[in-house]
């Protein structure tokens, strides 16, 4: 007898989701045959604010695209404007940006590890990850004054400097963080129960990842080496790092890639602290932007694209933000097809969804 299909609504309010997204899951018994997303619960329309806020104020709006990678959003916007206006940011400013970027990646991946642990029901591990994440937030608070939204970027550079004793104190703290990370990573990568939930779940082949336009760790976990940091924005051009990939293509690979990226972030911060020169952190910006520019950066979730167009007045004509989660949704729908209902929360998490930046 052919089984009857049923449709289970998932979200927008759901215990595993910190943010609202809605999926209609078409089920054949316990197996998901199709997942139909509907989004828009967090849509604000912040791109339209360019008409009401001038290009300097806009930085504060753009930063609030997403509270997790807020620093990177602010930085990308500023670099876009700097390119349009031909402003050269002092080297120290660029290094400071790099350090804050990598710290953002650390806290974002830690947050993700915690949520992943929560999704497979390992609550104490979730709490451990979030406890560790607070160490990074303390560093943000010490250096910028904010925990999640910092407002330290401005077209022309950064607004706050980090004195060298602070930088060295951070490096010391990161050493402690790394030791703890080894312990936690061991659970994610070697624990029998965790492995049964992750290994072989949610396969995304390299071809699919490429064709569906996946981004970030999702793409790299399918064996495709693409990392926009290699373009050398901020101070990445001066730093030495490899692109981290895995050939396993499953949820475990995504976890593994992110954990290795955290070690890499710590290394990058250390390199940057060693190399950072003395000097100014910002230059004054005069006039209004005229022209257009595309900017690509690597956020914790993958590649983000900014487009801005200025017309010589203090209000920009248009900005457009494409965020990594948006690019990863087709890949998510692919991995959901054919999975078990109980794996759905886990698979949604493996793309590290950030709905508020997807919908802006």
């Amino acid at each position: 007898m052919a089984s009857k299909k049923s449709v289970v609504p998932f979200g927008p309010q759901h215990p595993v989701l910190p943010e609202p997204i809605h999926l209609d899951l078409v089920l054949d018994d316990e197996k998901v045959v199709e997942a139909i997303p509907s989004i828009g619960f967090v849509h604000r329309g912040l791109e339209s604010l360019v008409k009401k806020k001038d290009f300097k104020e806009m930085q504060y709006v753009v930063e609030r695209t997403c509270g997790i990678c807020s620093f990177m959003h602010g930085m990308t916007y500023c670099e876009t404007i700097e390119h349009i206006m031909d402003v050269e940011v002092p080297v120290r400013g660029r290094y400071l940006r790099t350090i804050w970027c990598e710290m953002s990646r650390l806290h974002s991946h830690m947050l993700w590890l915690g949520l992943l642990a929560d999704a497979f029901g390992f609550e104490s591990l979730f709490y451990q990850c979030w406890r560790m994440r607070e160490q990074i937030l303390d560093m943000f608070e010490a250096s910028t004054g904010g925990r999640v939204i910092f407002s330290v970027n401005a077209p022309g550079g950064v607004l706050k400097d980090m004195p060298s004793d602070m930088l060295h104190a951070f490096v010391e703290k990161l050493d402690g963080f790394e030791t703890e990370l080894h312990k936690i990573a061991d659970i994610f990568l070697n624990d029998y129960t965790v492995l049964t939930r992750l290994k072989g779940v949610g396969i995304l082949t390299p071809e699919e990842a490429h064709d569906l336009g996946a981004a970030g760790p999702m793409l790299r976990a399918s064996g495709i080496a693409r990392d926009t940091r290699k373009l050398g924005y901020a101070a990445y051009g001066d730093l030495d790092f490899d692109i981290i990939t895995s050939d396993d293509c499953d949820s475990f690979a995504r976890c593994d890639v992110r954990i290795r990226e955290m070690y890499q972030s710590i290394q990058l911060i250390k390199q940057a602290v060693d190399k950072i020169p003395e000097g100014d952190i910002a230059v004054p910006v005069k006039g209004n932007p005229e022209g257009e520019y595309f900017m690509r950066v690597e956020q914790p979730r993958g590649e983000a694209i900014y487009y801005a167009k200025g017309n010589g007045t203090k209000f920009l004509e248009r900005i457009r933000i494409r965020t990594p989660t948006f690019a990863n949704i087709p890949a998510l729908l692919k991995t959901l097809k054919g999975c078990q209902l109980s794996d759905v929360p886990l698979l949604i998490l493996t793309i590290d969804p950030c709905i508020s930046c997807t919908e802006r």
Partner: protein, 145 residues
């Protein structure tokens, strides 16, 4: 804080926040800030919840969702708007898709300001919500008598 005769359960819903306030709400529930020491328990089910923490403004898509969640909560209930967005619409107030703060669709009892609201002020909001919940609970009991 008034003596709590039972633990109020807490529900968190993200309206159209930028995530900043959301993760701060979550951070409040984790060991460093540990809001649960005030007797609240986090839940995912509106029908079990006594206190609603709402972050972010109201837009055309989520208005009905927020209303529905509010109506599903049993009486008495307390609503706590976390972050400037949930209070007034915040930076996004002038966006075409934002109607305003959470109080445009449901009654809000407690407003926690800040962009992002700091964990300390969120905890302050939760503590006040617990006290208010207690008060509403007692009022309801005496009405019944």
């Amino acid at each position: 804080m008034a003596n709590v005769s039972r633990s109020p359960w807490l529900l968190h819903y993200d309206g159209s926040s930028c995530n900043g306030c959301d993760i701060e709400v979550l951070a409040c529930l984790t060991p460093v800030y540990d809001a649960e020491r005030f007797g609240v328990v986090n839940t995912g089910n509106p029908m079990h919840a006594d206190i609603l923490l709402i972050t972010g403004g109201i837009n055309s898509q989520n208005a009905s969702v927020v209303e529905q969640i509010y109506n599903q909560m049993p009486n008495p209930k307390v609503v706590c708007a976390v972050g400037t967005c949930a209070c007034t619409g915040g930076v996004f107030k002038e966006c075409y898709n934002i109607k305003g703060g959470a109080d445009t669709v449901i009654p809000v009892d407690i407003y926690v300001p800040g962009c992002a609201a700091r964990p300390q002020s969120i905890i302050d909001g939760i503590v006040q919500a617990v006290a208010l919940f207690q008060k509403k609970h007692e009022e309801m009991k005496s009405e019944k008598k």
